[in-house]
């Protein structure tokens, strides 16, 4: 039975510790997209995914990596942190619903993400959900209260500057091989929007197959990147955008710094058992 997503294999070694694998499929997909649209990269590049911990080459002139998998706050100049979830169609449409005021005014968000521990560390989940809270909610996080159990689970309540309240539930407790289960619900004075259909608890897929080898499911969202799952396709789209717009790199790095600081603040909140305001020093 075919398994969705890129085939993983060990990447080259180097000195920069990040949670990433270099997958030829993703790099080929990005290369194809750049060629199709005649984008001339300013520098040679390499794309890493959000896979198991590894090390990436220092000598690659431009390393494109999911920011959530870069543990350091200060990244070398050649590392470009990406926010691939922003390129997932479901999040783009949720944002459209907010920005077009199809649902308005936003009052509360309820975000959740459960993964298996081999996929991403807990802080990477907080990083992603905090970014989505600000990106979908439309204003920066102003305060954080977090209750965290080591590397297993975290529950946080954050308030955005605009007053929107947001819950973030994350855990790395699913068994190995489990697919990610997440949910994003935005509640407004007029209307509720969600990436999960009413009366369901788990994500739906586009295709389900049952045969003598077992069961499998697939969700394909990007015709130009056929064969890649939604998360991988979003990563390639994010990388394409970063290669196409080198002027965005400093903004991406600033954003990464802010999110790392927010995650650190959540850890601090847990240690102090206090709600903490986001200090002005944050980017």
């Amino acid at each position: 039975m075919e398994v969705q997503g890129p085939v993983r294999r060990p990447g080259p070694t180097g000195e920069l510790p990040v949670n990433s694998m270099i997958t030829p499929e993703l790099n080929e997909a990005l290369s194809g997209l750049l060629q199709k649209y005649a984008v001339e990269p300013a520098r040679p590049w390499q794309l890493g995914d959000g896979g198991e911990p590894s090390r990436v080459r220092l000598d690659a002139p431009m390393q494109l990596l999911p920011g959530s998998n870069c543990e350091e706050e200060d990244l070398p100049d050649h590392v470009v942190p990406l926010f691939p979830w922003r390129y997932e169609r479901r999040f783009q449409e949720l944002r459209n619903l907010v920005q077009s005021e199809t649902i308005t005014p936003v009052r509360m968000c309820r975000f959740a993400c459960l993964v298996n521990s081999a996929t991403r560390p807990l802080d990477a989940l907080l990083y992603r959900e905090f970014d989505l809270a600000e990106w979908l909610g439309g204003s920066p996080i102003a305060s954080v209260y977090a209750s965290i159990d080591g590397e297993l689970a975290a529950n946080a309540i954050v308030r955005l500057e605009g007053g929107v309240l947001c819950s973030v539930e994350v855990a790395t407790t699913l068994p190995p091989g489990s697919a990610t289960h997440d949910r994003h619900e935005i509640i407004a004075g007029r209307g509720v929007a969600s990436d999960r259909v009413v009366d369901t608890q788990v994500p739906q897929s586009s295709v389900y197959v049952w045969n003598d080898q077992g069961a499998a499911c697939f969700t394909d969202t990007d015709a130009e990147l056929a064969g890649l799952d939604a998360e991988s396709a979003a990563l390639v789209r994010a990388a394409y955008d970063a290669v196409q717009r080198p002027e965005s790199h400093s903004e991406l790095r600033d954003r990464h710094v802010r999110l790392r600081q927010l995650v650190a603040l959540a850890r601090q909140s847990d240690r102090q058992q206090q709600r903490l305001d986001v200090p002005g020093r944050l980017s």
């Binding site: 039975m1 075919e2 649209y37 005649a38 169609r89 479901r90 783009q92 449409e93 949720l94 459209n96 619903l97 005021e101 199809t102 649902i103 308005t104 407004a188 007029r190 209307g191 509720v192 929007a193 969600s194 990436d195 999960r196 259909v197 009413v198 994500p203 739906q204 897929s205 586009s206 295709v207 389900y208 197959v209 049952w210 045969n211 003598d212 697939f218 969700t219 394909d220 969202t221 990007d222 015709a223 130009e224 056929a226 064969g227």
Partner: protein, 358 residues
């Protein structure tokens, strides 16, 4: 690859707005001009697109823009033959909407003319460029469910007739006024004419041809419409694979003159779902899901907000590639004829009350 200089005719088809975006965005295209069919259509076009010349006379558009290499026939079905003839005379390649003609003699004249002129004529069956359909094709080709023995497919939508009235006029949609069945006050030209995709897909997936087709129409849910809106189709392929197809307009709509938010009454306005059963297993697919969901403006109803609609990228890629490299589109007139024959057989079966052997 040099961008293809392209124009659009009529602008009355339901997919017209999608082409506005595609023709603007695609680096493979240079959008030269359009010809609008009437005042209302022109006004809508000018609101949507500011910088593309809009004509009201097709010949004038072609005369003023001899650089046009290809056109999108975004028109009612009964306009296709005349417009194709004009394109052939001028050596212009054609991207046709999904029903070139239900009149097979006319259809064959189109084929002959296009092929004699050495032109590309691609039929717009955009589902071929849908990422879920791509996955299903690859799973079936890889034998994951074995040889197919049964296929069920829905292609169910709301009815577009209030925004695109020709789709409810038998002469414009079917090509002539033909009674649905003896004693039935309705005429051919409704939901079936809007939904050829699943008739085409089953041919691709099975690699087989239609053998027997049986169809029945239900009483309309829109009782003021003179064409059919609900029907079911069953039958067998020549390899024995059995099928059940639902090409209905079974999702009610607000009767908007211009499609937009709040169009749907049922939360999901368009569905193409497949269930394939083979000798090794089964497969279920939702070609337009999952999505995101809301109950916000303008009508506060629970609504599917689609996250898929980039099929036109692949469709245009193929069209340009065929023109620039002299290739034949996968959905060309000759291939598509059998799909049209099958749809005609559905109407014949409804009229007879019995299956039709193809």
């Amino acid at each position: 690859m040099k961008p293809l200089k392209i124009a659009m005719l009529s602008l009355t088809h339901g997919h017209t707005r999608k082409y506005y975006q595609t023709l603007k965005d695609s680096p493979k295209l240079d959008w030269v001009a359009v010809c609008a069919e009437n005042d209302a259509v022109e006004e809508r076009f000018r609101r949507a697109v500011a910088d593309v010349p809009c004509y009201r006379d097709e010949a004038e558009m072609f005369d003023r823009h001899p650089e046009i290499e290809a056109v999108v026939l975004a028109s009612a079905n009964n306009q296709h033959a005349r417009q194709m003839e004009m394109c052939v005379e001028r050596g212009v390649h054609i991207l046709s909407m999904k029903i070139p003609s239900f009149d097979l003699a006319e259809y064959d004249r189109m084929t002959e003319a296009v092929e004699s002129a050495g032109l590309v004529c691609q039929i717009e069956l955009e589902l071929h460029y849908n990422p879920v359909v791509d996955r299903v094709k690859r799973l079936v080709a890889a034998g994951e469910v074995g040889p197919l023995r049964s296929v069920q497919a829905t292609n169910i939508t709301l009815s577009p007739v209030w925004a695109f009235p020709w789709q409810g006029v038998p002469e414009d949609s079917y090509g002539r006024r033909v009674s649905l069945a003896a004693g039935d006050g309705r005429f051919r030209g409704g939901a079936l004419c809007d939904h050829p995709h699943i008739f085409d897909l089953i041919r691709w997936l099975t690699g087989s041809d239609f053998d027997t087709i049986y169809a029945e129409a239900a009483p309309n849910i829109r009782t003021d419409m003179e064409v059919e809106d609900l029907l079911l189709v069953s039958g067998k392929m020549t390899d024995g694979c059995t099928f059940l197809l639902d090409p209905s307009w079974s999702r009610l709509e607000e009767r908007l003159e211009e499609p937009g938010p709040g169009w749907e009454v049922f939360p999901k306005r368009m569905e193409v779902n497949l269930t394939l059963s083979g000798e090794r297993g089964s497969l279920m697919a939702d070609c337009f899901g999952p999505n995101v969901y809301h109950n916000g403006a303008p009508r506060d109803r629970y609504t599917v907000q689609y996250t898929y609609f980039d099929e036109w990228i692949g469709l245009i890629d193929e069209f340009c590639d065929c023109i620039r490299h002299g290739r034949t589109p996968q959905i060309n007139l000759r291939w598509h004829r059998r799909t049209i024959e099958a749809m005609n057989a559905c109407y014949e079966s409804i009229a007879r009350g019995q299956p039709v052997r193809m």
